[in-house]
Amino acid sequence: MDFDPSYTAQQFKSVGTRPLRPDGVDKVTGRARYGADFNMPGQLVGRVLRSPHAHAIIRKIDTSKAEALKGVKAVVTAADLPDLTDGDADLYAILSNCMARDKAFYDGHAVAAVAAIDARTARRALKLIEIDYEVLPHVTDVDEAMKDSAPLLHESVFTDGVDPAPAKPSNVARRSQYGHGDVDAGFADADMVVERTYRTEQTHQGYIEPHACVASVNNDGTGELWVCTQGHFVYRQWCADLLGMDVSKLRVTSSEIGGGFGGKTHVWAEPVALALSRKAGRPVKLVMSRDEVFRASGPTSATSIDVKIGAKKDGTITAASATLRYTCGPWVGMWAELGAMTAFAPYDLKNVRTVGYEVLVNRPKVSAYRAPSAPMAAFAVESAVDELARKIGMDPVDFRIANVAKEGTRASYGPVYGPIGIGPTLEAVKEHPHMKAPLGKNQGRGMACGFWFNFGGQTCTDLNIGADGTVTIAVGTVDVGGSRASLSMVAAEELGIPYEQVKAIVADTSSLGYNDMTDGSRGTFSSSMATISAARNAIRIMRARAAQMWGIPVEDVVWEEGHAKAAGAKHGNLPPLSVREIAAAAGNTGGPIAGHSELVADGAGVSFATHICDIEVDPETGQTRVLRYTVVQDAGKAVHPTYVEGQYQGGAAQGIGWALNEEYIYGKDGRLQNPGFLDYRIPVCSDLPMIDTQILEIPNPNHPYGIRGVGETSIVPPLAAIANAVSNAVGVRMTHIPMSPPRILAALEAE
């Protein structure tokens, strides 16, 4: 296709307005179908047995008593999910995580599962499964796990990325490095240096909807999976690979999603549900409990990060370095690497070096969490930047502006930036009334910057013109933040018809070509590009049909305001043809009218934000209260400003929870102490102020409308902004996230 994705400035009619989202009423009235709302005739209840040990060899599993229990239709263990991964280490990690093989690597690791006629029978059956464990020493702390004396998770892991290759196995799975220039020379040039170590604890995405699916495998090798996911095409691929099915014979339908934030980019119990269904010969519904969600799905890394930054008295940063140690759970990821890439992205630095270490620990397998790895790196770097600004005697906003990255800057992670929004967000913050508002006793203000890459990826969209001229678009990116509304607006814009005449659906894996997941803030960016392309293809067909109806050359037909118009004086008297009129005649002019698009959406514009936060601290208890919060972020072009603001606010809310109270707490026995929302404290409504937002629009040159992804960046600055605010309120530098009341009180008393 000759689709040109370049940005062209244009006036919008539909894009930029704020219509109601099409899925809203169903969601607030309870009619929307989430993962657990699907049911099939004859369906069984699936339940998973999980290891109570943080680290243990599984000597023997005896399922005979469970299998003999009346009402039990299938029991599966690792033996029912044979290794078909053919040397693919990432896939093997997914397999081993879905069902422990020779070893249980964390408290909550799945070791067996049952399918039974009801929940009570399934629960009883789990109690009848006998497992002979050999409990091993465990390690959950990132720094402890790196020591030579630490219990080793895998004998076969030798640190990758180190030359020469180490001779001894280790929990440090990989080392990565980024940067340019001469850091040592840069520090030698500095008048002031700040150097500190920071820690952040592990958090969970905290989606309210637990993982849920219904799996149905037939004995002819076909199957269906209804599931709550951010990417049904990717789930299909992994499930088919792990079960030895043909990809095209497994049909995956995504449900409405009650939050994902990266945690639903990974399969957890879905392959197990399919294995149970295959063995039982009946559909199996598997819904994880909250306890299971916390113990065995999706947390982010716990980290330990050293940062050193040096600057001249005039405020020029001369050198910056960071060493980032991130937990991965039991299998290697690229979490520290993402931290190492993002850490100094907002700045124009001559000399910069970051080193990341991927560390294996006896905790659940880490998965993406909204701008994965960037918030912790930003917390460490932006805390140090703030401290250095104060040391020099510069305003922290001015100090950042003096060193800010701009078009043409070589990013610390390698590429040269195009037009970017970090400078404008800082200028906007400098002028924002929030920065000038007075503060009271025990109150402090902080600000911080954040960056995220954004992603484009493989995308496929169908646009079908109905016989009455209304339009359906079938997209393959799961709608996690209102993208059906946004994509309908884009289709309406391109076709020149009202938003109300477009209906968007998320198509299942058998109805549409492959799509990457809704991750990397790519949903609206990539599917809008494909929607524009599909609409332009449909317009081309409609112009041809109009030409046919009129009996004139197609070159003489233009598309304007939702109509085919005959151009030029010689056709001056022909009245324009509407989409409806062209569609009504389609049966006589060549059949149904549709536009398709398959593309790789390259050039997702990078995203920057700057946040401001006011905090009050009770000096006697360490209690904090967020008084005011402002998000300034570049959207490229805000398709639906209300949902863009919602993304800004949602990321800030999650960041506030992470900064102040959320953390995985492990006991000495390696068991998770707080697998529930009572003691894993996400903010409740009354904990948050109204989060103020300001949308900047610096067009992305690689998208026809200038759109950038907006979903993730908003969680990057909050940890640092809040840490800077608390530090300013109490006069003590806070270096450990979350800044829970006991930690703040202890820091105050230590001072």
Partner: protein
């Protein structure tokens, strides 16, 4: 599992006394159902007392108030006379769980669940509340602090039910208050809590006081040294400091996921002084 909704207290006692296996009383169910869903208990018998009319009332007598064990905490909050007489007890009851939970939960259930972090219990202990217990061998009345004996354990014998919580009539110039520390603003469980109940003398100084602490020991603590620290004073700074010290000293908490020993000891003192000031103001102290 059998679920029974008896119509009378005697029927409930009979069911519990004759039960084989694990029998549980369901008042609001806000703890029981959570424990069942979490797979912590598997009851053989559940006796729901919400259908027993005599347990569902707040009765004001010449001696004070009798709060039936099936009265939801939200109903306590709607009782103007009770709220006026015992504002600390009512505010504690209305901190339990969420608005929805308060429509079901009861202070008797909160007491019998025997959590050291129970919100209403420090306020009840400070108030000198008593529990009327009915059982197969008749009725007895004991101080509320004698009901829980440790986390999840009570002094109730088989077949016994708390019938009501009794709160005395207030002398004039009295006030009570309850404060808890939670990291969030609501929907949370006390990390430390303090209830203070006091009566002022004619001279405006504290004539008598009771101070109770929650979540700092296996059961709610009644701290007489803390009360002694403020009796005879107008809550001057020295008295407040002594009160805080007495509370911090009496507290013997544990380190756990909700807080550290050090944090709890310190904040126990902070909350007690703040609660004392509120109680003092409510009593008319200046």
């Amino acid at each position: 599992m059998e679920y029974v909704l008896p119509a009378s207290l005697n029927d409930a006692i009979g069911l519990l006394a004759g039960a084989k296996g694990n029998a549980f009383v369901l008042a609001g169910g806000s703890d029981l159902l959570v424990r069942m869903k979490g797979d912590f208990i598997e009851p053989d018998l559940i006796v729901d007392i919400k259908g027993i009319g005599e347990l569902a009332q707040i009765v004001q007598t010449a001696d004070g108030f009798t709060v039936g064990s099936a009265v939801p905490c939200a109903v306590m909050g709607e009782n103007t006379a009770l709220r006026k007489a015992w504002p600390g007890v009512v505010e504690a009851a209305n901190l339990i769980g969420s608005k929805q939970v308060q429509g079901r939960c009861t202070i008797a259930g909160n007491l019998c669940n025997a959590s050291p972090a129970a919100d209403s219990v420090p306020a009840l202990v400070a108030a000198g509340a008593r529990a009327v217990i009915a059982g197969p061998s008749g009725k007895r009345t004991i101080a509320v602090e004698d009901v829980p004996t440790g986390p999840g354990k009570t002094s109730l014998a088989k077949g016994e039910i708390v019938e009501a919580i009794v709160l005395d009539k207030r002398p004039s110039n009295s006030g009570d208050a309850y404060l808890r520390f939670i990291p969030r603003t609501e929907m949370d469980i006390a990390v430390v809590s303090a209830g203070v109940n006091l009566t002022l003398g004619a001279d405006g100084a504290v004539a008598s006081a009771r101070v109770a602490l929650g979540a700092v020991a296996a059961t709610v603590l009644l701290v007489s040294e803390a009360a002694d620290a403020i009796v005879g004073t107008r809550l001057d700074d020295t008295a407040m400091e002594k009160l805080a010290q007495a509370c911090s000293a009496a507290a013997s908490p544990i380190d756990d996921k909700r807080g550290t020993v050090h944090f709890r000891k310190k904040v126990a003192g902070v909350l007690a002084t703040r609660a004392a000031r509120i109680a003092y103001e409510r009593a008319g102290g200046k």
